[in-house]
Structure formats: structure tokens, C-alpha cells
């Protein structure tokens, strides 16, 4: 039940870990990604990324600016232009 999550900025690879769920601020609305999500690609608006490490745990939020998210068989990759 783990989702492989990667957060990358132009300067470095910020996160690469197994998490439960991530809520991404998409351009057309927020969406959450769990393990086994269908292949998906979306641009991101400026907002906060919420990372749920465990099912019941509290969310960790990371404010990000610009970029896009890609979900494929290997997991979720968020390419953010900037961490603010």
C-alpha cells in the first residue's frame, strides 16, 4: 500500500520515498494519488502539496510553485519549479 513519490526541483531531487497518499494542487483542481493510480499527467498551480505518510497520520504540507505531476506505473513524480 505504498506509493512511490518523488519531488524534484531544477536544483535537486528533494524527496524520493514511499508514502500512503499525496494530494497535488492541479491546475483544474486538487487530486489525490494513491498506489495503483491510473497513468495521469497534469500541470500544477501554485499551492501546497500534502503528503500523507501513513493512512491515519497527519499530512505534511509543502508549498510549491509551478510545474507538473506525472503518475505512471512506477509512482508519482512531481516536477516543481520552486519550493517556496
Amino acid at each position: 500500500m505504498a506509493l512511490h513519490f518523488e519531488l524534484v526541483t531544477p536544483e535537486r531531487l528533494v524527496r524520493s520515498e514511499e508514502v500512503h497518499m499525496v494530494v497535488v494542487p492541479g491546475t483544474d483542481g486538487d487530486f489525490s494519488v494513491l498506489e495503483g493510480h491510473a497513468p495521469f499527467m497534469s500541470t500544477i498551480r501554485d499551492g501546497a502539496l500534502s503528503i500523507y505518510r501513513t493512512k491515519d497520520g497527519a499530512a505534511e504540507t509543502l508549498p510549491i510553485r509551478g510545474g507538473f505531476a506525472e503518475v505512471n506505473a512506477t509512482g508519482l513524480t512531481v516536477l516543481a519549479e520552486q519550493l517556496s
Binding site: V8, A38, P39, M41, S42, T77, L79
Partner: protein, 295 residues
């Protein structure tokens, strides 16, 4: 033969030069490590973005209404050469090599009857100003940058995109030195606008991202429209990072050589100085002895 004093002064002067070159070498070595790390850290982003752009571009390529960043302006007349150099000299042939590569390309294009313009990112590219006084479109001042940030690259890339949108050029090529190792830096030219098949890594394009049914939000075209300018920025950023690492590597070598040469010179001057000193002593002794014998 030079006087004793002159020789001594000369040796001292070479010694202090050697101290400076040695210090510069060590500073360059320390900076190189950091620059190299930054270049490595920037790779994952560039690679992933490249892969996505490649797969989107191959799906949409050739279609109508595709962004001019992908399809081009339909002309091939005005070429803009973006020459990324360092802000400081004393880095061996680093800047010379980049400028030479850019110049060779420019001469080729001019021979083909194309118009060539230059965009100078970095102070040391300004020798081109003398060669092509009317072809320089911009030379932003980057001297305040200590470590290259994404924002710096974005400023340059935004300027390029604005000029492209205004129709100032049809093709942009980026010249920088690729960091191969601390000893080897390779000047390269790369087309960044429009995105050519050559700049998109063929391996990346072949990656089976497009196989799966991927949902896009918003549409594929819109995503591509947003990604293409970002891709240009990332290419510029990557070039700047590579350049920063190459510059330090090149300077380290140049200073290493300079230190060695100074050492050789000191050795030679010391021998010369000692000989001159001994010759002077011998002459003096001969004078005293012959003076004493004459009595």
C-alpha cells in the same frame, strides 16, 4: 649577465606569483566540487522533463496548432547564437574554446547566407562584440551571480522566449562547455529553439511512456504549451551549471600548470643566482690574492 640584485628580485617576484596561482588552484578545486555537485543534482529534473516533453512531442508532433517552440517559425533565416561563458578569466582555454566553437558556427551560417545574431550570457564572450559589432542583441550582466540558481537561468530563458515570440529569430543555438571531467571540458553547440529531435534524447523518446493510456489534465496541447518554455529554461539552466563546473575544472588545470611553470622558473633563477654569486666571490678572491702576492 643580470646583476645579483636583479636576479634576486626576479626570483622573489616569481615566488609570489606562484603563491597566487597555488591559492587560485586550491580555490578552484573547492569550487569545482560544489559546482559538480550542483550539476549532478540538477540532472534528475532535466531528465524527467526531457522524457515527458519527448513523449508528448512525439505524440503531437507535426499536428496543426502546435506551439512554434516545437514546430519552428517555418523559416530558417535568422539564427541566434547564445554564447554562455564565464565572468572571470584565468581559466585556461575555457572561454576561448566556447567562443571559437560559436564563431565557427557563425562563419558557417554566414557562408550559407543566413543572418547571425549573438546573445552573450557571460562577460568573457564579449570578444565577439569586436568581431561582430552589429550582431549582438543582448549581453545581460550576470556578474553578480555566485552560484547559479534556477531564477538566473529563467531570466535568460524568458528574455530568449520573448525575443522569439517577437519574431527576432528563427533558430536559437546554445554554446557552452560540457563538463566531462576535471581535466576535460568539451565545448558544445546545441539547438534549443525550436526543440529539435537531436536535443531530445533518443533514448528518452523511445521510453514507453506513451504506450499506456495516459489521462491529461488539462489537454495534451495545453500541457505541452506549458512545458516547452520550461524546457528551454531547463536547458539554459543545465548549460549554466555545466559551464560553472567546467570553468572551475579548467581554471584548476590552468593554475596547476602555472604553479608548476613558476616552480621550474624559480629553480632556474636560483641556479643562475648562485652561479653569479659564486662568480663574484671567485673574482673577489682572485683580486685579493693577486693583490697580496704583488706586495
Amino acid at each position: 649577465m643580470a646583476s645579483l640584485k636583479a636576479l634576486k628580485l626576479r626570483r622573489e617576484s616569481v615566488k609570489s606569483t606562484q603563491k597566487i596561482t597555488k591559492a587560485m588552484k586550491m580555490v578552484a578545486a573547492a569550487k569545482l566540487r560544489r559546482a559538480q555537485e550542483a550539476a549532478t543534482n540538477g540532472r534528475p529534473y532535466a531528465e524527467r522533463l526531457e522524457r515527458v516533453v519527448a513523449s508528448l512531442a512525439s505524440r503531437l508532433g507535426g499536428g496543426a496548432g502546435v506551439s512554434p517552440l516545437l514546430a519552428g517559425t517555418g523559416k530558417d533565416q535568422v539564427h541566434l547564437l547564445v554564447v554562455a561563458t564565464s565572468e572571470r578569466g584565468l581559466a585556461g582555454a575555457f572561454n576561448t574554446n566556447i567562443v571559437r566553437a560559436a564563431r565557427r558556427r557563425a562563419e558557417d551560417l554566414i557562408a550559407q547566407g543566413k543572418t547571425v545574431k549573438f546573445f552573450l550570457a557571460g562577460k568573457k564572450g564579449r570578444v565577439l562584440r569586436r568581431l561582430y559589432p552589429n550582431a549582438i542583441v543582448a549581453d545581460p550582466d550576470l556578474s553578480g551571480i555566485k552560484t547559479v540558481g534556477f531564477g538566473d537561468a529563467k531570466a535568460v530563458a524568458d528574455d530568449l522566449l520573448r525575443r522569439y515570440a517577437a519574431g527576432e529569430f528563427d533558430v536559437a543555438e546554445l554554446f557552452y562547455a560540457k563538463f566531462v571531467s576535471a581535466l576535460v571540458q568539451e565545448p558544445v553547440g546545441q539547438q534549443i529553439i525550436p526543440v529539435s529531435a537531436a536535443t531530445v534524447n533518443p533514448q528518452a523518446a523511445a521510453a514507453p511512456v506513451a504506450d499506456a493510456v495516459v489521462e491529461y489534465e488539462p489537454s495534451e496541447e495545453e500541457i505541452l504549451d506549458e512545458l516547452l518554455p520550461r524546457n528551454v529554461t531547463v536547458q539554459v539552466f543545465r548549460a549554466m551549471l555545466e559551464n560553472a563546473a567546467s570553468e572551475q575544472g579548467s581554471r584548476m588545470n590552468a593554475m596547476e600548470n602555472a604553479t608548476r611553470n613558476a616552480g621550474d622558473m624559480i629553480k632556474r633563477l636560483s641556479i643562475q643566482y648562485n652561479r653569479a654569486r659564486q662568480a663574484a666571490i671567485t673574482t673577489e678572491l682572485v683580486e685579493i690574492i693577486s693583490g697580496a702576492e704583488a706586495l
